[in-house]
Symmetry: C2
Subunit: 226 residues, 2 copies
Amino acid sequence: MTKSTTSRPPLSPTTRSTPTRAKDRARADRAELDAVLDAGLICHLGVVLGGGPVVIPTSYGRDGNTLYLHGSTGAGNLRAALEGDISIAVTLVDGLIYARSAMHFSMNYRSAVVRGRAVEVTDADERMHALRIVTEHAAPGAWDRVRRPDKKELAATKVLALDLTEASVKVRTGGPNDDTEDIETGGVWAGVLPIRQVWGAPVPSADLEPGIEIPQDVLDRSPRGQ
Amino acid sequence: MTKSTTSRPPLSPTTRSTPTRAKDRARADRAELDAVLDAGLICHLGVVLGGGPVVIPTSYGRDGNTLYLHGSTGAGNLRAALEGDISIAVTLVDGLIYARSAMHFSMNYRSAVVRGRAVEVTDADERMHALRIVTEHAAPGAWDRVRRPDKKELAATKVLALDLTEASVKVRTGGPNDDTEDIETGGVWAGVLPIRQVWGAPVPSADLEPGIEIPQDVLDRSPRGQ
C-alpha cells in the first residue's frame, strides 16, 4: 500500500524549512490527520517488547494535538509503551483496486501513522478527561448517560498521552494506475470495488431490564452508512 | 481491548508443556488463527526503524504456516523488516459494546498478532507463488485473468515470508460485562451495536474500453455481507 499514494511529509515542525509555506502545508495536513484519526474506530499500537516490536489493536481518542490511550495497569504492552518510543496507526480501507496486471492491484485508503514518546497521564482531572475522550471516540454521546469510572476502576487503569506532532498521512483515491501497454492491450476489466464499515441494528443485552429504550446516540448511529 | 476476551496462549511449540493437551489446543488455536488471518483484508506491520517502532498498514497473504508480505525494494520499512524481528496484527471489529458504565465499554473483535523474524524470499518460483497468494488474498479469483508480474516489476519487488508459529489469537464475542451493582441499579441501556465491512457496487475504471463485462470474481463479492 505504498504505491500510487498521495504522501504527505511528516507534520513535525522540525522539518519545516520555509515557515510560511510550511505553515500552510502543516495546516492542510493537520486537518487531514485529524480527519483520519477521528474517522477510525481502533488504532494499532506498536511498542518494543522483549527486544522486538509487537503490534496490538486498541481503543483511542483524540483531543486537539493529543492522542489518548488507556488500558489495564497490568498490561505489559502499556508498560512497554512508556519505556520507549511508540507508534500508532489508524487505517480506513475504502476500496479494492482491480487492475489489469497483478502488480497494480491496490487499495484506496486513508492512513495516519504517528510516532513519538507517550507519557503517562497522572493528573486526576486529565485522566478523567482522557477516559471521556476515549469513550466518546468509540461511542459519541454515551459518556453523559453512563456511570463514570470510580476510584477502584481508576486505580486499575493506566492512561497514556501521545503528542501528534510526528505524524504522516497517506490517502489513496481513484481508480487503477495500469501501465499504458496493458490499457492498450485491453480485454481485462479494471475498476474499484468500494468497501465500507456499516453499523447494524442494536442488540440489547440479555440482562437488560424491560422498559429501557435504545438511547438516541445509539439510534443516531445505527443507520449511518447503510 | 484487553478486557473480557478469550485469550489464547501463544502457538509457539516452545511453550508447550504437556505434548498431548498442547497439541490439541494448538490445533484448535491454529484453526482460529487461520480464520482471522484469512478474514482480514490488510494487516498492520510493526518494525523497528530509527530506534523506535513504526506501524504501517500493508497487504498480505497466507499459505499454510507462512505469511507473505511484499513491497517496493525502495521501501525503508521493508528493509527494516529484514533487519530485526517484526510483528503483524490483523484485527476485525465486529461490534461496539455499550455498557452501563464507561469502563465496561468495549468491542467485539477477532485479532491475530504474529511475531517473528521475516526472511526475504529469493527463489523465483516461490516469489511468484507469494505474489499470487497476496493478490488472491485481496482479490480471490483475479490472478488467473490478469497480467502476471514481469521481469521489471519483479526486480522492483521485495517479498518477505514470516513463519506463523509465534502467534496469538484473541476473540471477544457477546454482550456487555457490567458490574452486578450497575445491573441492579438499572436504568441504563446496554447492548451491542454490530459493525461489519460490506462491499459496494463495482466502479469500472474511467479508462476501461467498452464491452468488458465485470468478472465473476468481482460480481461474486459485491453482494457479500450486504
